[in-house]
Structure formats: C-alpha cells, structure tokens
Symmetry: C2
Subunit: 247 residues, 2 copies
C-alpha cells in the first residue's frame, strides 16, 4: 500500500497555493465510491471556498485559524433530505426521521470524509478535521442553509502544506486491538499502554504549560471538560430533534 498512511500528519498551516478545481473534483469523486448503506448515499458535502463564508464559519469552529487559512473547507453532513424527497416523489413514504437513520447517514458521511482525506493526502495535500462540528452544528446549519433531514457531522480543512509538522504519537497497536473478545484493561495494562505517551517531551510540555499534575488532567480539566461535553451534548440532541431525527 502507499506510504502516505504511515507518514501522514494533520496539517494546520497551508500555503497560498489554491487547490485546482479539477483535482478537488477528482478527490471528491474518489470519496463518493466509498461504501454507503444500501447504496442510498445519504450524505452531502458542502464546499466552502468563499472568504466571506469562511469568516462566517470560523466562530462555529471556535475561530481555529485553519478555517480562514485553508483554501477549501469541506463540511460533511448526514443527509436524508434528498433521499426522502425522492421517495415522496415516487409514491413511497420515507421512514427516516429517527435516530437509527441519523446514525446510518452519519456513518455514510464519515466514510466519504475519510476517503476524501486519504485521497487528498496521497496527492500531497494536507488536511485537518474539526471536531467542533458536532459542538456547534446549530450555527453551521444556519450558515450553510441546511434544511431538515440534514446535520453536519464533521468538517475538514484542506490545502497545500506550508510546513511539515512533526508526526504525533499513537498508542501501541495492541492497545486498541482485541483478539476475539474485549480484554478489559487492568491498571498494569493502562500503565504500559500510556507509558511512552506520558514520557514524551511534548506531553511533559502540555502538563507544565497548563500547570497540571498529569497529562490526563490536561484532557479532563482543560481540553475536554465534563461540563462542556454535557452542555454540547444537550445542544446536539436538540439539533437532532430540530432537524427531524428523533421522532
């Protein structure tokens, strides 16, 4: 297989160079060959190139600089709107206004998104996922004009890399792969799995910078806090209801 899988890193700084529209089209077309439930293709991709639209999207992504700094921003949406319209127009009553259907459509959208990223990286482009999409789906819906039946699931910024950042660490493969049955983690296993990560210079830097005692505290007390997670959980469930996926 091509080496990009192993050499890739998330790229957050992009050069001024535009992405050729025909290259972007080829990358998106590669994405649409990804597996999709029952070949329903219940997703949509919104392509943002316009500077004003990027400026409007930026706050929904907590003003992470990649949004205005990338030549292309792609918002991947779970979309049962198009499919349901087709059903109604063909004497068929759609039954996709429920949570299972949201998950089906979200899975479709994510498999396409990742194929788009893999194909783009193989071409030398850099990408960054924005997890903020599920936090502020309501604002993204307004900005992009998403109708009922459509929920943004993830966002990817894409461009030619301005630099090659260091590759970040990963847990050992055995930490995330289980044979036959889930082998739950003992305290010793947890120590072993996280040892290398915790001893890295960048991890020690995070701890010092944030004045915490452990790397885990940087996650629970700074980056991904319980209160925030609960607040945005409520918002996201409201969005699913409003967009018609919780009937």
């Amino acid at each position: 297989m091509n080496s990009t899988y192993f050499t890739r890193r998330t790229v957050r700084k992009y050069s001024e160079r535009e992405i050729d529209p025909s290259l972007l089209e080829k990358i998106l077309a590669a994405g649409t060959r990804a597996s999709t439930t029952g070949n329903m293709q219940v997703y949509s991709i919104i392509v943002t190139r316009d500077e004003e639209m990027k400026r409007r999207l930026a706050p929904a992504h907590f003003n992470q600089p990649m949004v205005t700094g990338a030549p292309v921003v792609l918002t991947f949406c779970a979309d049962f709107n198009r499919f349901s319209k087709w059903c109604r127009q063909r004497d068929a009553e759609p039954g996709y206004d429920n949570f299972l259907s949201f998950m089906t459509a979200a899975i479709d959208a994510l498999l396409v998104a990742q194929t788009v990223c893999n194909a783009a990286e193989e071409e030398g482009l850099g990408i960054c996922y924005l997890g903020t999409t599920t936090y502020n789906a309501d604002r993204i819906i307004d900005i992009l004009g998403l109708p009922g039946g459509v929920v943004p699931v993830t966002t990817v910024t894409m461009g030619w890399p301005a630099d090659v950042p260091e590759q970040v660490d990963r847990l050992p493969l055995e930490a995330v792969v289980h044979g036959e049955r889930y082998l739950d983690y003992t305290p010793e296993m947890i120590d072993n799995i996280y040892r290398e990560k915790e001893s890295r210079d960048d991890s020690l830097g995070f701890i010092a910078e944030n004045k915490k005692k452990t790397l885990a505290q940087v996650f629970t007390e700074v980056r991904y806090k319980k209160a925030d997670n609960e607040f945005f959980s409520g918002k996201l469930l409201e969005v699913l209801k409003k967009q018609g996926f919780m009937k």
Copy 2:
C-alpha cells in the same frame, strides 16, 4: 492517487485463502494513523478469526453469509472505557459519559475503519460493511464482552475476493456536492439526479422482484422500513444509555 478508489467494489464472497497476520497487522496499523479527536484514540477494534465466534456473531448481522464466509471480521467500537480508566488512574475525573462523547468516539472509530478498508483494498483484499451493527449492538456487546463506555459502531468483513462483482452505480457528483450553501432539491433536480439509477437494469430487476411500482418503494417497503427503523432506534438509544453515554 492510486486507482483503487475508483475501481473498488464491495466484496461479499471470499476465497479460502487466509489473510496473513502480518498483512492484517500492517493494515490495522495504517488505520491507527487516521485522525482522532485530540489524539485520544477513543476506539477499539475487535478482530474475529475464530469460526465459533463468527457463528455466534452471524445472527446479530441477520445471518448475512459474509460473517461466516470471511477469514476476518472486524468490529469497530466507540471506546471511552480505556481513556476514562487512564484518567481515573492519573488523578483526573473523566467526563465522557454523554452523547457528545459518544459521537466523538464513533467518529474516531469510523475514520479508522475507513482507512483500514482503503488500505486493505489497495492490497487487493475485498471488504463489506455491515450496517446491522447499529441494529443489534446489544447482542454484539454480549458476544464480544464489551464493557461500559464501549459501543460497536460498524463491522467490516474482509478477505481475498472469490470473484469480482459488478461495480454498482453512484449518483452524479453534483447530486451530493453543494457549493458554499446547500441548494435544496426541486422536483426537477430529483428527477435528473435519480434518472440514471432508476433506468438501470438492476434497478428494474429489484422493482419486478419485489413486486413494487417504484425503486423508492423497494427501499421504504422492503429494505429500510419505517417500523424497523423506529424499533432499532429505540434499541440503539437504550444501548447508549446502558453503556453509559446518555448521562
């Protein structure tokens, strides 16, 4: 980019040839380089090779023959169990027992799954996604012994292709891509988007076989029915609650 993106097809019949463990390991390792929220890697992969385990999983996937027919079955799970255990062991209180965190973990799992599939296909392997995972997550949890904080999101069967099936159709790229804002579909657009799909021999075959008037009715009345979707939505939400993601 490599041509596999465009030539790929879902493969449901596999030869007797095993997948070499070192090749599988390389493919899984490629998957673990996929983007993950905050580099938390909140997913797990359960590898099923054992015949008895495949037989036990099969009914949860409505006995689709790929489960027992594939040399390898991979169950991709949203997993905040490992990360939360690490937090607790490091004097940090995890706050990931909520819906937003489930989505975060599900996204991680799906990006890894699709990278695994792309890498496998580049090596000549064939894959098939099983959407049934979200239908019967409760049964899969029992069979694979998944603890709280872990929910199976999708399953992939993998093996060397026994034959090369026909490539299925896709909607035109313009049907799923929107520039700047979502352009909602008019009746004329729906007709144009679905014209080719509806006129294909395989589509006409589905309609006749199922004694329906339109292709859409095959979806709404046979394949993905409202009553089923609602039943499995309730089950899936129960699973999220039981596994500790709805607090």
